[in-house]
């Protein structure tokens, strides 16, 4: 698990990034487009789908935020943020042109290489689609390397589906998208129910050749894993992205421990087998 923050540099150093664009996604959630002020840092920037950065508002603090943009677009860093805590509240209130700090990228990544030649199912709950979007971009850029690509995306109601404006484009590029909501309105054309119900009924070409990645609330991910196992997808082909309090992102502060793991180092993306025995232990 190589660290991808710049080597030989003080890992506490934040780099200045300027907010170049703001996309309001759903209530309380927006995406920031960030550009490095230092062109030298911009030139070396690269990340792998699933990784995160520490975004920093001086005087308020840092927060671990998934990268939700396209790894091929090296010009700007896109990060989707939900207004949930002190730092994210501040981040979601900044104007275009404001400067914040960034450290990273940090952490493990989705197995996009391991997925080559296979069917891939992505299961996202709510804002859990954000860290999976770089996987979608990657696989659609390299569409011929993958077999069936399916995205099951759930939300409480249609207005809370993330990135709906991109769905049509993704579909034309070869992504099968199945949205489902808990509560539908009259205009809703998609499914109603939880993501596991969709997964339960999904046609699988070859379960043994299928890989699944999921991100969302822990309980949703757990049942997604159970359903996937029930459908015959091997445990070793299941991946999930976890969230815990991250304070340093460099495995020095102890906050993000989950069983034997530092979420900032071995995670946030895990193979299900790594977490199987501890995921349902309360308050771990």
């Amino acid at each position: 698990m190589a660290a991808t923050c710049e080597p030989n540099q003080n890992p506490w150093l934040s780099h200045s990034v300027r907010i170049a664009g703001i996309t309001r996604e759903i209530p309380g959630v927006l995406t920031l487009d960030l550009e490095f002020e230092d062109s030298a840092r911009a030139a070396t920037w690269a990340f792998r789908p699933g990784q995160f950065t520490m975004l920093y508002v001086p005087g308020v603090g840092e927060s671990a935020i998934s990268i939700s943009g396209d790894a091929a677009d090296t010009g700007r860093i896109r990060q989707t943020i939900r207004d949930a805590g002190n730092v994210t509240h501040s981040l979601t209130g900044l104007p275009i042109g404001a400067t914040i700090g960034l450290r990273g990228p940090f952490g493990s990544s989705w197995p996009v290489d391991e997925c080559r030649g296979r069917d891939v199912i992505l299961v996202a709950g709510g804002i859990g689609l954000a860290p999976l979007r770089p996987v979608i971009y990657h696989m659609l850029h390299h569409r011929q390397q993958y077999q069936e690509l399916t995205l099951i995306v759930g939300a409480r109601d249609p207005a809370l589906l993330l990135y709906p404006g991109e769905f049509e484009h993704w579909r034309t590029q070869g992504l099968n998208i199945i949205p489902t909501v808990d509560h539908a309105d009259e205009s809703w054309r998609g499914g109603v129910g939880v993501v596991t119900t969709v997964l339960e009924r999904l046609w699988l070409r070859s379960p043994a050749e299928t890989m699944l990645m999921t991100c969302g609330p822990e309980v949703m991910m757990w049942y997604t894993m159970q359903t996937a196992l029930g459908r015959g997808i091997p445990a070793g082909s299941l991946f999930l992205s976890m969230e815990r309090n991250m304070n340093c992102a460099i495995a020095l502060c102890g906050h993000c421990q989950f069983g034997p793991y530092f979420l900032c180092r071995e995670g946030p993306v895990f193979r299900f087998e790594q977490l199987r025995s501890i995921l349902r232990i309360d308050d771990l």
């Binding site: 934040s14 308020v60 804002i127 808990d182 939880v194 969302g216 102890g254 034997p260 308050d283």
Partner: protein, 422 residues
């Protein structure tokens, strides 16, 4: 000094002291430093530009602090320790190192309780971010015990052994000189023999002393140690002195009576994550953080913002923190570990089990500080013993489980909530 063959002990500066594995069973002969000449060693350190830190009597305890000379040492003092209790008491001799480690540990010098790791300065509409790169103090630690050498080695793995190196620890660690002192007594809370960390200093020091009534047997652990004592009036130890040193070290070993069975401990603890015993411990545990603060290996910290009134100049301050704090695990307002039982479980299983997964070593050196400095005197060796008994007797577990609250609520149905990540 006739120690010319001594150099294999020198390794990379970050681990500046001897990896003396080749002379564990084949130790180099000890030299002898007269009691009155310890001041020459201290003066030499000061001349070399070191700030000497070591034991001194303060606040009714033997603590670690800056020393100006021999007179600062706790000569004629010792301590009595038991779970939840420490007393400073006079000795009936004039030993300078006749005590067992107290409330402080060396981590406060290598990993200070508070340090500025970064700053941000508003410049126009932008922010200038930088890191704090002050020169680190150059410490000589005097009086490091064997378990404490192990603790330093463990923190080396935490702060220096991963993909990201902590520059603050690294600078201090690179500069430090370690003068160890072998224990010649032990407290009822000590269990270094179980953790294979003592009582005799084996490696990781520049010099190791053994105090006897007339002075100190001196063992050299590194080239730096050799250079340090070159100018001192050392002479080869005579057999009587060597025997006195051996007797003192044997006394310490004999006095270590507390034991912790570490066999299969990693798996045992991780199989007991749902044990009702955690609730039983939580009835006593104050979740006050004392054990983690006095632990020489605990490394948890938090970085917080410290700004001036204008908000234009911000310092990012790293402070010691603890897994016993509710806020430590909070994400978006909700703590992952919202009960004392879950936090005690996190601490104990990390210290004795998952630490091995993370760093290839136990996080416990058997120093007993967490036992002495826990106000209600919770003894982790007793808790491990109970957990082991429970693991071996499911009936016993069931009996406790009936009185303790159940650890797992019924699973809730999955929902497509928008909660989660951002």
């Amino acid at each position: 000094m006739t120690e010319s063959a001594a150099v294999p002990g020198i390794v990379a500066p970050a681990m500046n002291s001897g990896d003396s594995s080749d002379f564990i069973g084949n130790r180099r002969p000890e030299s002898f430093l007269l009691r009155d000449d310890l001041q020459l060693l201290m003066r030499r350190l000061q001349e070399d530009g070191y700030t000497i830190v070591g034991p001194k009597v303060d606040q009714d305890a033997i603590v670690y602090g800056e020393l100006t000379g021999v007179s600062d040492l706790p000569q004629g003092w010792t301590d009595q320790q038991q779970p939840g209790k420490y007393r400073l008491v006079p000795r009936d001799d004039q030993r300078m190192f006749g005590y067992v480690p107290g409330p402080h540990s060396w981590k406060q010098f290598l990993f200070p309780p508070s340090a500025i790791v970064a700053t941000a300065q508003r410049v126009g509409s932008s922010w200038q971010m930088s890191t704090q790169d002050e020169p680190a103090p150059r410490y000589a630690f005097l009086g490091v015990r064997s378990c404490e050498l192990s603790a330093i080695a463990i923190q080396d793995k935490v702060f220096l052994g991963g993909a990201f190196v902590d520059p603050h620890y690294e600078q201090r660690r690179d500069a430090v000189l370690l003068i160890a002192v072998n224990c010649t007594q032990a407290a009822p809370v000590c269990f270094c023999t179980s953790m294979k960390t003592g009582p005799r200093c084996q490696s990781g020091f520049d010099l190791a002393l053994t105090e006897i009534d007339t002075g100190f047997l001196v063992e050299i652990g590194s080239e730096r140690g050799r250079l340090l004592v070159e100018a001192l009036p050392l002479r080869p130890a005579v057999s009587e002195e060597i025997r006195a040193g051996e007797r003192g070290r044997a006394d310490a070993e004999r006095q270590v009576t507390k034991q912790m069975n570490t066999e299969g401990l990693h798996d045992l603890l991780l199989e007991q994550l749902k044990s009702p015993h955690w609730e039983t411990v939580a009835e006593r545990c104050l979740s006050c953080t004392n054990c983690t603060m006095v632990c020489p290996t605990c490394f948890c910290s938090s970085v917080t913002e410290v700004s001036d009134l204008s908000g234009d100049r911000v310092q990012r301050e790293r402070q010691w923190d603890s897994c016993f704090n509710v806020d430590f695990s909070r994400v978006n307002g909700i703590p992952s570990r919202d009960s004392i039982s879950s936090r005690y479980r996190q601490w104990l299983t990390h210290k004795l089990a998952t630490w091995q997964d993370q760093f290839g070593t136990s996080g416990c050196v058997g120093c007993g500080r967490c036992i002495t400095w826990c106000p209600p005197g919770i003894d982790l060796t007793e808790e491990v013993r109970t957990l082991r008994q429970l693991a071996e007797s499911p009936q016993l577990t069931a009996a406790i489980g009936e009185t303790a609250s159940s650890s797992l609520p019924p699973n809730t149905a999955p929902q497509n909530t928008t909660e989660g990540r951002g």
